[in-house]
Every structure is written in structure tokens, then in C-alpha cells.
Symmetry: C2
Subunit: 245 residues, 2 copies
DNA sequence: AGAAATCAAAATGGATCCAAAATTGTAATT
DNA sequence: AATTACAATTTTGGATCCATTTTGATTTCT
């Protein structure tokens, strides 16, 4: 599926993973020689990949100073959720008039898949990944039904923020994950009835609550259940010295 | 201000201009050798620029097949306006609680500038550029006040569609441009009163009407007052042959 | 004659090389 | 001792070169 053939594409995808996983710390300088050697390619495809990543917002570039991992303030993370809430709500509104029997079934199938994973009364460790994938598919399906490619594109870009990545499920409390899954069911029901406004309202709250919960977790325990948190202590020597000779 | 020093950045900006201005036709293949020679640089910075443009959505890339100018369907253009309407409405909602006396003044100064340009009862030819710039500044100021950088970024990306570019003012009819400017005044007034909902509602309609008008112009006279329209007749030989040897 | 195979030309992707700029370390001067 | 000037190293940016893939055109075979 996602088999990119050129080195530049592979390197880009690899870097994206590494950055989102937090293995490269925000603000960290990306030395081209070292990185190229580590990744086993020459500098040329690496630079191509970096140029692309810079435009996708994962790294920042400064002329003659190279690339560094982009860092996001809590305020920016909050902003990402707010825009995402609005875009996904809009997706619901646009999707509603496009609903068919088949599409309704696809949505409810995903809900049922979540039901199965949560059947025991809690989410097993080994069910984390399947649940996460189901969650991603549910949101993406609605965006597809909406038929506006810009929405899916922008939502994907908003996931290019380390902490808001769709690969992170930090809901350990049963009540929260249960409520979140219940939102999915209600959204599916509203959409299958053609009620875009209602589906959109649920979706907006669905995303905004995730924001509140994530930010509260960030504030309360900066490094606890979350190893993904950018280690500010380690955010090392960045001397923004700017002298005129 | 926008002085990018490296060749790659200059080439990228140059290509962006050329594509948005329609001098490179949608779907057209971008031959690296020829382009590099035309632009007076080697292929390396050109490829860096293309990689960036690909991620910004102006060109599309296919492995081992190179880059071509992206083409947008009328439906995609419509979709861009719809998302932009929502994002700019959201910007109004977020901007309202941030308003100050100074910011109100800045907004009304821009409105007054438009008043001056339209004072004669119509828009002079030489006032086109100033009016266009005022328009851009008005919208950008609201996005700045909103304080959510994602909105400004996404709106800018939505302007990366040839026909929706903010450099195009195709409103030749006095009534329409007058009404559009009146929207600006009402938005400024609503914002200065802290009424984000109302400002957002006006903004949404402001953008959606521009969409309707643009699309109607596109349908009625594919090449009339608009020279920017992609010349489909010239969209030349693209053989998407895909054989397995 | 039409389709398939083959070979030549061209274009893309990647590696290496070189120049220019920035950073770092050292020395010299105040 | 601190700061400035200067030199050496490192790193980035750009050009060139080479390999691989694609494209197209010609030839060959059914």
C-alpha cells in the first residue's frame, strides 16, 4: 500500500515516524552528514526528504543553518485540536447528505469492532493497536464520505504534531474510553439518519474533550504514562547567537 | 521581508508565482533539465524546490516519473472555498475575545482604505493592486488576531489553488465589489463589539458568495475576463501508460 | 497489418565533489 | 580578564557525474 520506492520517500517516511514517536527531540538539530550515514543513504535523498518535511510542518528550516525538529508550544497543540474539532465537525455536516445504506453499514461495522474490543469491560494491552486503528479508520471514513479532500489533508497535517498524532491513545481510564466510543456510536447513528448538524456537534465535543484530557495529562504528569512528552530537560544547547561581524 | 537567500528558496517562490499565475498549465510535465536551464540553476536546488512544492500541493510527484503541475477539478475548487469559509469564520470567532482598541483601529483603517479606493463609485484600474493588497491584509489581520497559526497556514494553502489565489480579483461588477467591501465593514464592527458569532456568520457568507460568483464566471465564460483559466485545450499529451515488462 | 519484443534516447534518482557560509577555537589586543 | 579579531574546522548549498528506470521508436514475428 504505502510502498514508496525512492530512497527519498523511504527516508522521509522513516524520519516522520521517528519524529512523531519522539525519538528526535523538538528543537534538535538535524545534521545532514550524521543522519545520512545513520540512515544509510547519501545526503541528496535526505535533503529531498527534509525539504518535504519542512513544508509538512515537522521540521523547520533556516537558510544556511539547516533543519531542526519543530517544537510546538502547548498553545499550538491546543490550537491544533480546536481546528481539528471544527474540520471534523464540518466533515460530518458534509457527509450527512452523502450517506447510503452501504456507508452506514461500514460505519456501524467499525462501531461493532470497537464493541468487541471493549467487550471485557476494559481494553486489553494487546487490543490497543487494533482499537487505535479502528479509531483512525472511523474518522477517516467520515472524511471520505464528506468528499472534500482538503479536510482529510488538513486533519492529517494536524496529526503531524507529536502529541496529537493519531497513533497515541493515552486514555487509560475506562470511563473516558467508553464515553469516547459511545460518541462514535452516536455519530454513526446521527449520520445514518442524515443529521449532519447533530453528528457534527457530537464530533466537535468528541475532539475538544480529547484535547482537554490530553492537556490535563500533560500538565499533571509531564512524564508518566507518556514517554512521548518532549523532554524539555534534554532539549539541549541551542545558541541562537546572531552577531553581525 | 521575504528575502530568501538560497537558490532553492528563490526557485521555489518563482515557480509558485508562475504556477499560480497560470503560466504553467495544470497537468504539464516539469522537465528538470529544461526548467533548471530556464531558471539558471542546476538541477539540485530545483529538485529541492519541487520536493517542497509537492508537499505544499502545487505540484504532484510520482516515483520515477517526476513532477507535474497539479490540476484541480471545479469540485476541488469548490471544496477549497467551503473549507476556507469555515476556517475564516472560525478565525472570527477566535478573534473576537482578543480584540483591543488598537486592533479595532487597525481593522477600521483597512476598511477606510477600501472606502478611499472605492470613493469614486467604481474601482479604477490602477487601484486594483492596492485594493487586492488591502483585502489580503484585512483577512490576514483577523487570522493574526485569532492567534491560531494553523488557521492562517491552512487558509494560505487553500490559496495555493490557481483560481482561488488571493491575487485574483475578478469582481468587475460594482455591486458585487461594493457588497464585498460592506461585508468587511460589518465584520470589523461585529468584531470590535466582541461579537464573534456574528462576524463569523458574515465572513462565512462573504467567502461562500465569492465561491458562487467565481464558479458562475467559470461556467459562463471559460475564457473571458479571466485569462487565468487553465486552457484545457492546451492540456497536452499525458499518456498514463502503465505496462509491466 | 498488428502486436510484441528489442534497442536507443532521455529523464529521473542518487552519490560525489566543490564552493561558500557558519560555527568553533585560538590568539592577540585593550 | 574580557573582548575582539582571526584562522581552522565543520556544515550547508550547489554543480557535476553516474546508474537505473522510463519512454519512444524501430524491428521482428505471428
Amino acid at each position: 500500500m504505502t510502498d514508496n520506492h525512492t530512497s527519498a520517500e523511504m527516508v522521509g517516511e522513516r524520519l516522520r515516524e521517528v519524529i512523531l514517536r519522539g525519538e528526535l527531540h523538538p528543537g534538535e538539530k538535524l545534521h545532514q552528514n550524521r543522519l545520512a550515514e545513520q540512515l544509510g543513504v547519501s545526503r541528496t535523498p535526505l535533503r529531498t526528504a527534509l525539504a518535504a518535511l519542512a513544508n509538512s510542518g515537522l521540521v523547520v528550516y533556516e537558510s544556511n543553518c539547516g533543519y531542526r525538529v519543530r517544537e510546538f508550544s502547548p498553545e499550538q497543540i491546543r490550537g491544533a485540536f480546536i481546528v481539528r474539532a471544527e474540520l471534523e465537525a464540518l466533515a460530518c455536516m458534509l457527509a450527512a447528505p452523502n450517506m447510503t445504506e452501504a456507508l452506514s453499514k461500514q460505519l456501524f461495522d467499525l462501531v461493532a469492532e470497537g464493541d468487541r474490543l471493549l467487550a471485557d469491560g476494559h481494553l486489553l494491552e494487546e487490543s490497543h493497536a487494533p482499537y487505535r486503528e479502528m479509531n483512525v479508520r472511523f474518522h477517516k471514513l467520515i472524511q471520505t464520505i464528506a468528499g472534500n479532500p482538503w479536510i482529510a489533508d488538513f486533519v492529517a497535517r494536524l496529526h503531524n504534531v507529536p502529541l496529537t498524532s493519531d497513533r497515541i491513545i493515552l486514555w487509560e481510564h475506562w470511563k473516558i474510553i467508553h464515553r469516547s466510543h459511545d460518541d462514535h456510536r452516536r455519530i454513526a447513528e446521527a449520520l445514518s439518519h442524515g443529521n449532519g448538524m447533530r453528528a457534527g456537534a457530537i464530533m466537535r465535543e468528541h475532539v475538544l474533550f480529547a484535547m482537554d484530557y490530553l492537556l490535563s495529562q500533560l500538565n499533571s504528569q509531564p512524564e508518566g504514562t507518556l514517554r512521548i512528552v518532549p523532554d524539555r530537560a534534554k532539549a539541549q544547547n541551542r545558541k541562537t547567537s546572531k552577531r553581525k561581524p
